[in-house]
């Protein structure tokens, strides 16, 4: 039943969007399509208006540092068919540009502001205040993987120096209680 339904949906989408690369090996109610950046608005519109995927569950950005790309993931859900579809697209990491999509789902506005602030995605045509969560932010987009938060925090914020007599007391405690520290935990000791 579910399989037939999924098959039917895959067929329909393949018929309409030739570039949709399908990854359909899930044995539960999930489908996955990867499309080109230009196709995103039309496929989302199509899913929402024609196929009953009226609910936007989530929109996310994934940083594929090694491949030099940013991936946008939109998860839509059909209350009628009880199926969720992942729609993915890849953006160039050095110059990530996407179109504003908040006419499809107004809540996308918030997600797009997050993309812009946290990943540095340029959203053309987005109407929103400049600042989203970070105020007075001056560094690089903090959710990119090449952003070193520890180094940034060390550079920006004061750090309290540890006490000079600070020692690793775990061994003492372990010896006192007659326990052994497992090997994997030992590498965390100072």
């Amino acid at each position: 039943m579910m399989k037939e339904l999924k098959e039917k949906i895959v067929q329909r989408i393949k018929a309409n969007f030739a570039d949709a690369a399908e990854k359909n090996d899930f044995n539960y109610n999930r489908l996955d399509f990867t499309v080109k950046k230009e196709t995103i608005p039309s496929i989302l519109f199509y899913l929402k208006d024609e196929m009953g995927f009226i609910h936007l569950s989530d929109a996310n950005c994934v940083d594929w540092l090694e491949e030099g790309e940013l991936e946008l993931v939109f998860i839509v859900w059909s209350p009628k068919d009880k199926i969720k579809i992942f729609v993915r697209t890849r953006l160039d990491r050095d110059n990530p540009v996407m179109d504003n999509l908040d006419m499809i789902w107004p809540q996308l506005n918030t997600y797009e502001r997050e993309f812009r602030e946290m990943f540095g995605v340029q959203v053309t045509g987005l109407e929103a205040p400049d600042e989203f969560i970070l105020e007075d932010w001056q560094g690089p987009p903090p959710f990119r993987r090449d952003f070193d938060t520890a180094a940034y925090a060390e550079k920006t914020f004061w750090e309290r120096p540890g006490r000079e007599d600070a020692q690793d007391v775990r061994e003492t405690i372990a010896n006192r209680d007659g326990e052994e520290i497992p090997d994997f935990a030992k590498k965390y000791s100072r």
Partner: protein
Amino acid sequence: MVNDKNSQKIVDFIQNWARKHSIWVLAYGTGCGAIEIPPTMTSRYDAERLGVRGAATPRQADVLLITGYLTVKTLKRVIRVYEQMQDPKYVIGFGSCTINGGMYYDSYNTIKVLDKYLPVDVYINGCMPRPEAVLSGFARLQKRIAEGRANGAQQYKDNLEWYRANQKKIIPNWIMPEYNW
């Protein structure tokens, strides 16, 4: 007579005693620590028997209780609130986050050491500190007030430039009114 040192001492003693026993707290519930305040105030631990009582606005409050981590965004508000409070005023840093960043030690947007930005009179350690610890913190503050050592506000006034420089380092877009006394 009024300028006489001994009589001033007596006045100070009485005033400090009153301040010690009447602590109106403005709990700035930024982080997860805010959840520890209700049990401290209500029937189980009853901080009111020590004269500790909630205040609604900074104009009425004596103590600014900063419960937990401070992001850059909330730090701005905390500084504002602190500057709106009336002298004499005290700050309690609550939880590890205000001491050394706690579990947010490497976060890109939370400060780690509160006393670089505001004069902290008493720190309460723990993540989270239990209400007993909070009460002990209040007791410590009371002791300092009674001894006349809780002079963070004076320190802030004297070293305003240093504090301002620290604050402006992480808040480059500074639009707050000047602190003028």
